[in-house]
């Protein structure tokens, strides 16, 4: 496939790997966090890890929007889905995320009308086609998907659709990063910045990381060569005692982001005073809700939701995994009680979650114990 295969060229990959070898100090151990779940997925999907030197370790960060949704929010979604006459729509990943008593897929099997959509506009189309039903869109995602939700709500408003509403779970990337950097148990040398979030917000919002915390950030694309190159750029900064925000993903990310998308978000959303993140707890001003001007399209105001906070399961160590403090396999329930088919923690549900990526792609050793094959 043109313009895709080029970014997956194994020979070029080996060249970059050799360059990486040229900038690492042999005795030093490097920990680099990829913030975004999309990167985690690509790293495992293409085996990027296999091309890195032993002393460069990748730590999987909190940037999977499905993984950070707390159980109480899932319960609220299921409560709305069970309301008579409701068609509940959301992205596929979200269907398998467990609430305190089952998933949206379970609710569907019990009779709720839950439908997977590929875009919020699909939900809008359903609302137009079924004017006698209440169509609710369960919105998730960082700034990557928030603009499409905003545009959908603006269109619903313009069309005067009265049977459409949105349960907003959009989150923002900077507050959890700051929370992470403030965490005392964290040891990181640099960050692979989230590529798609940055198409919207730009690279500028990440400048606080080198400025306040002295860690380099390189915004990266999602193909394996993008990721390898970004790792090289981070390590080269460290080798040269530089510390700044660099943009590897220049073919997509403008340094100042996408002003039209930011304007749409500003019109439709406002910051929540605080929002609970799975495993990370409450983080202030870290999520979006519908602004008062769009209150009539807010599913949380249209329907009575329980709004009960549900504590994360005790055994689950998603929080430590999300912070990169432990590896997925170090979690007490990894792979035994918590598997992709019966997930306890959200990191195991989404293919972008660190645990699911490791379980699905990274889990192999030989029975004799050595490296496999």
């Amino acid at each position: 496939m043109r313009f895709v295969d080029e970014f997956r060229d194994g020979a070029l990959g080996r060249k970059v790997a050799a360059q990486i070898l040229g900038v690492v100090e042999p005795g030093r151990h490097y920990k680099v966090m990829e913030v975004c779940g999309g990167h985690t997925h690509s790293i495992y999907r293409y085996g990027v890890d296999d091309l890195l030197p032993e002393n460069v370790e990748l730590v999987h960060g909190p940037g999977c929007p499905v993984c950070v949704i707390p159980m109480g929010r899932v319960d609220d979604g299921i409560a709305i889905a069970r309301e008579p006459g409701v068609i509940f729509t959301c992205f596929g990943d979200m269907l398998r995320v467990p609430g305190s008593a089952g998933t949206l897929l379970d609710a569907k099997a019990q009779g709720a009308d839950v439908r997977m959509v590929y875009s919020p506009l699909d939900a809008l189309r359903i609302a137009r086609a079924e004017p006698d039903r209440e169509v609710v869109f369960f919105a998730i995602g960082f700034e990557t998907t928030a603009p499409s939700t905003a545009l959908t709500l603006m269109r619903a408003r313009a069309e005067g659709l009265r049977n459409f509403s949105c349960m907003c779970n959009h989150v923002t990337i900077v507050p959890p990063l700051r929370a992470l950097l403030d965490s005392p148990d964290l040891r990181l040398d640099g960050f692979i910045g989230p590529g798609h979030v940055s198409t919207v917000v730009g690279a500028r919002p990440f400048e606080f990381i080198p400025a306040d915390y002295g860690r380099p950030v390189v915004i990266a694309g999602f193909e394996p060569l993008d990721i390898l190159q970004a790792i090289h750029m981070i390590l080269a900064q460290l080798a040269a005692d530089r510390c700044e925000v660099e943009n590897q993903y220049t073919r997509v990310v403008p340094y100042d982001g996408n002003p039209a998308a930011l304007r749409a978000m500003a019109e439709v959303f406002e910051l929540r005073p605080h929002f609970e993140w799975r495993g990370l707890g409450f983080i202030s001003q870290s999520a979006l809700r519908l602004a008062d001007a769009y209150a009539d399209l807010d599913a949380e105001r249209r329907f009575a939701v329980p709004g009960v906070r549900v504590a994360d399961p005790k055994a689950c160590q998603c929080g430590e995994v999300l912070k990169g403090v432990i590896k997925p396999w170090e979690c007490k329930v990894f792979g035994t009680a918590c598997t992709p088919e019966h997930a306890i923690g959200t990191c195991m549900v989404s293919p972008e979650g660190a645990c699911a990526a490791y379980y699905n792609y990274g889990r192999f050793v030989t029975s004799s114990g050595g490296p496999s094959l």
Partner: protein
């Protein structure tokens, strides 16, 4: 460089060992309700079959068709939506699907029975077209439809029509096929490019807003099987629901072997690769209705591949990997980029019904 792959820490290794032991056990069916995942051909389907059905009927080895006294028997149901799609229709699938299950057991298909479940209000022209499609596909596959049944259910209780076919075939004397016969060193072939049927169906449903020139690969696989049956052919599986990845996982588990797939060798049509890329789907998990995976002894593989490529519809047949002793029960992919990863069973897919 880690040319030998990532080396796990001792504790990690121990934990992975525990996980593999747990996975190797026969799954128990504990779900409270049937969800769509039970029909997706992945782990939930496997749990349903191995945890509930097989023990109830005392079945030990699960194959596409059972063979008793040289007679092969199999059955299949078809619930595809939409009924017609580029390259085929439910009627054609219902013939080829069952014929192919017989062929995978090394049996020449002989006859089918046909059961139709029709929804109240179904347009007679639609039904007539499917009956014609069934007759034409049966003729092409060299089987007769010799028995049948019809039922009608109330409007809203079936998507137009469901079709069930049962087939019998005669085991070919050259066939000695069994998952248990697969051993380290065997080569793995696919009979053509993968992922076309499932992609064609997804696009035909129209909710993706994509348009591409992709048609279903539905066809009878008996001519291809007939061309390669012989001593060195260990096992055949048609890569339907769950795709090639699911077949490889089934065989790795059943034979207790490791499987290595070389991603770059897997034939995929550019349009399928493009659609899969956009949708974030791996074509290795996408359904086929006219492709099989063959396990051949190393000395027989080249001849089998050459013979396959002579058969219509199998021109793009390829060798995609091989069987190893390690890691048992697992499929590992060597990515085109130069890394390695596990290719696991599907957990459940968010995709529409495809067969």
């Amino acid at each position: 460089m880690r040319t030998e792959g990532r080396k796990p820490a001792p504790r990690e290794e121990r934990i992975l060992g525990i996980i593999e032991t747990a996975r190797a056990k026969r799954p128990r069916f504990k779900d409270e309700r049937i969800t769509m995942a039970h029909g997706a051909g992945g782990k939930a389907t496997q749990t349903l079959i191995e945890g509930l059905l097989a023990p109830a009927f005392g079945l030990e080895e699960l194959t596409d068709a059972a063979v008793m006294d040289g007679v092969a028997l199999t059955t299949d149901s078809f619930v595809v939506k939409p009924l017609r799609f580029p390259g085929g229709s439910i009627g054609e699938l219902a013939v080829n699907g069952t014929v192919n299950d017989l062929a995978m057991a090394g049996a020449r298909p002989l006859a089918l029975s046909l059961a139709l479940i029709l929804e109240e209000g179904l347009d007679a022209a639609v039904l007539r077209a499917e009956v014609d499609a069934i007759a034409a596909a049966a003729e092409r596959a060299g089987v007769r439809v010799v028995a049948g049944d019809t039922k009608v259910v109330e409007r809203g209780h079936a998507d137009g029509m469901y079709v069930c076919t049962t087939g019998i075939g005669a085991r070919d004397p050259r066939a000695t096929l069994s998952p248990g016969a697969v051993r380290p060193g065997d080569r793995i072939l696919v009979s053509g490019s993968v992922g076309e049927h499932g992609t064609a169906i997804m696009l035909a449903r129209g909710d993706l807003g994509l348009d591409a020139d992709i048609v279903s690969d539905t066809r009878s696989l008996w001519p291809a099987v007939d061309a390669i049956l012989g001593d060195g052919l260990r096992c055949l599986r048609d890569a339907t629901r769950g795709g090639v990845a699911s077949v490889l996982n089934e065989i790795a588990r059943a034979a207790g072997v490791g499987i290595v797939v070389r991603e770059a060798e897997v034939p995929i049509a550019p349009a399928v690769a493009g659609a899969a890329e956009l949708l974030g789907i791996d074509p290795m998990y996408v359904a086929n209705e006219g492709k099989f995976v063959a396990f051949a002894a190393p000395e027989a593989a080249d001849a089998a591949l050459a013979a396959l490529r002579e058969v219509e519809g199998c021109e793009r047949a390829a060798e995609i990997g091989e069987v190893r002793a390690e890691p048992p029960g697992m499929v590992v992919v060597e990515t085109a980029f130069g890394g390695r990863r596990v290719m696991d069973q599907l957990v459940g897919d968010p995709l529409p019904r495809i067969c």
